[in-house]
């Protein structure tokens, strides 16, 4: 396990795979697997002795508090403007969850129980906090493998997506320039998080901690009247929570479970989920391209997997390779942030189906 921790540290520092999460996770793996250190040990029932440091910090994961607070910060950092300007982005954000369902079916075939299958499948949502939130509830023993797979593949988006994008689209499609997005008024930006909160949380109550906090953070950002709070959730709060979340998620990796065939399967299923989510987004992108008479560049579809803002940058870069005058970044940001909502919705559905 220590070797694995060192490999993860290497990936975080040298390869720069989402180091903000992977570095704490890796160190958590290291700490939890020091023999006899017992940093994850629960205290005895009579509390006559204290438990391990990471055990206490882990409660925030177990109770779902950390992922929600991370989403509070993510909401404050996210500009939903491009999504509001072109609401059809949401279709792409839905299609790019395809991998979740494909992975779920395959996971069931591979013998995982439904809870485990759902937790593994959510890797295809390409959204770290959502994946951690769901697996902490459905399959806590798989949590570290799922979190590591999710963050690693998110970092690998620039390697995973381009071949698929080139395979599924024609050069002509990739060359399409899109019309500039209209400007979005301040009022629309303010009303948006409130509408999303009400609609999504009423339809899928199980995911309301995530969506509620995401939209609260966004309201802090867009309201313009609580700069202090906006600044703190984007910095001090999200950073503190990230450290605690990462370290303790890593610390749940115990050798017996982590060094089992399940982890290999999770890695394979995770990749598959990413691939099919990308495909889902691209295919709907092609359909929208066709229906709109060539006004939509299908490359923005792959950004629907979320992995903000990496996937949108990949769309931009592929579009520019085909046509140097092509600036897809802002157009891809719409599906990109829609993908965050999409995976949260998918997680809410899975939690409603398989949660206790």
């Amino acid at each position: 396990m220590m070797l694995i921790a060192c490999i993860l540290i290497y990936m975080a520092i040298v390869k720069k795979y989402e180091p903000l999460l992977l570095l704490p996770i890796a160190f958590g793996v290291l700490l939890a697997n020091l023999p006899m250190a017992n940093l994850m040990a629960a205290p005895p029932d009579d509390h006559s002795q204290v438990g391990g440091l990471l055990y206490y910090l882990y409660q925030g994961v177990k109770l779902g508090i950390y992922p929600s607070l991370i989403f509070l910060g993510v909401g404050a950092m996210t500009d939903f403007g491009p999504l509001i300007a072109r609401p059809s982005s949401l279709f792409l954000g839905a299609a790019a969850q395809l991998g979740i369902y494909i992975a779920f079916v395959v996971a069931i075939c591979l013998g995982f129980n439904p809870q485990e299958g759902a937790a593994i499948a959510i890797i295809g949502g390409a959204d770290g906090p959502t994946a951690i939130f769901l697996s902490a509830r459905l399959a806590p023993e798989l949590l570290p493998a799922i979190a590591i797979a999710a963050y690693s593949y998110m970092a690998l988006i620039p390697m995973i997506q381009p071949p698929i994008m080139r395979l599924l689209t024609t050069k002509k499609e990739r060359e399409i320039e899109m019309v500039q997005l209209r400007e979005v008024s301040k009022l629309e930006r303010i009303v948006f998080p409130i509408v999303v909160t009400i609609v999504v949380c009423m339809l899928l109550p199980s995911v309301s901690p995530l969506i509620g906090m995401l939209m609260l953070g966004n309201l802090f950002r867009e309201s313009g009247v609580v700069e202090r709070l906006n600044d703190t959730v984007q910095h001090a709060l999200i950073n503190i929570v990230t450290i605690f979340l990462g370290t303790t998620v890593g610390a749940t990796a115990v050798a017996e479970v982590f060094l089992s065939p399940a982890t290999i399967k999770i890695i394979v299923l995770g990749l598959m989920a990413f691939v099919f989510s990308t495909i889902g987004g691209l295919l709907l992108g092609k359909l929208m391209c066709f229906l709109s008479g060539g006004k939509v560049n299908p490359l923005i579809g792959s950004a629907g997997v979320s992995a903000v803002p990496m996937a949108a940058r990949v769309s931009q870069s592929e579009g520019q390779k085909a046509n140097p005058a092509n600036f897809l970044l802002m157009h891809a940001m719409g599906p990109n942030v829609a993908g965050v909502i999409g995976s949260a919705v998918a997680a809410g559905f899975l939690l409603a189906m398989f949660g206790s």
């Binding site: 299609a95 969850q97 369902y101 439904p114 008024s185 009022l187 948006f192 313009g224 600044d231």
Partner: protein
Amino acid sequence: MTLMDSLMVSLIGLVVVFSVLILLSFLIKFQSVVLGYIMTDKNKLDAASAKGKDTGDFTAEGETVVTAEVPNIVDEGWSTGELRLLGVDEKTAAMIMAIVSHESQIPLSELQFKMIKAIN
């Protein structure tokens, strides 16, 4: 769980995600139209918020202050480390730095001067 069941779950799941997000997209469109009508209200809001930017009994933490310059020609200033002096001698500069430090109550060691320039 059988394969059939899992396919069923997946299908329903996909339908749920699409339904919710399509519903959302219509609501956003609807919202944009409705809010477009209430332009007067919006303008009032914008005006109010513009005014409100600098009120509030708390001061906002950290703002990014950028001094952007258009370098028409390569500047001929004299440089000491990160501080450029243009048309000011070192003594005056030191005095200015001391004054700024004193006025702002920030120790000199924590101030970072980019440029001190005489304005003519």
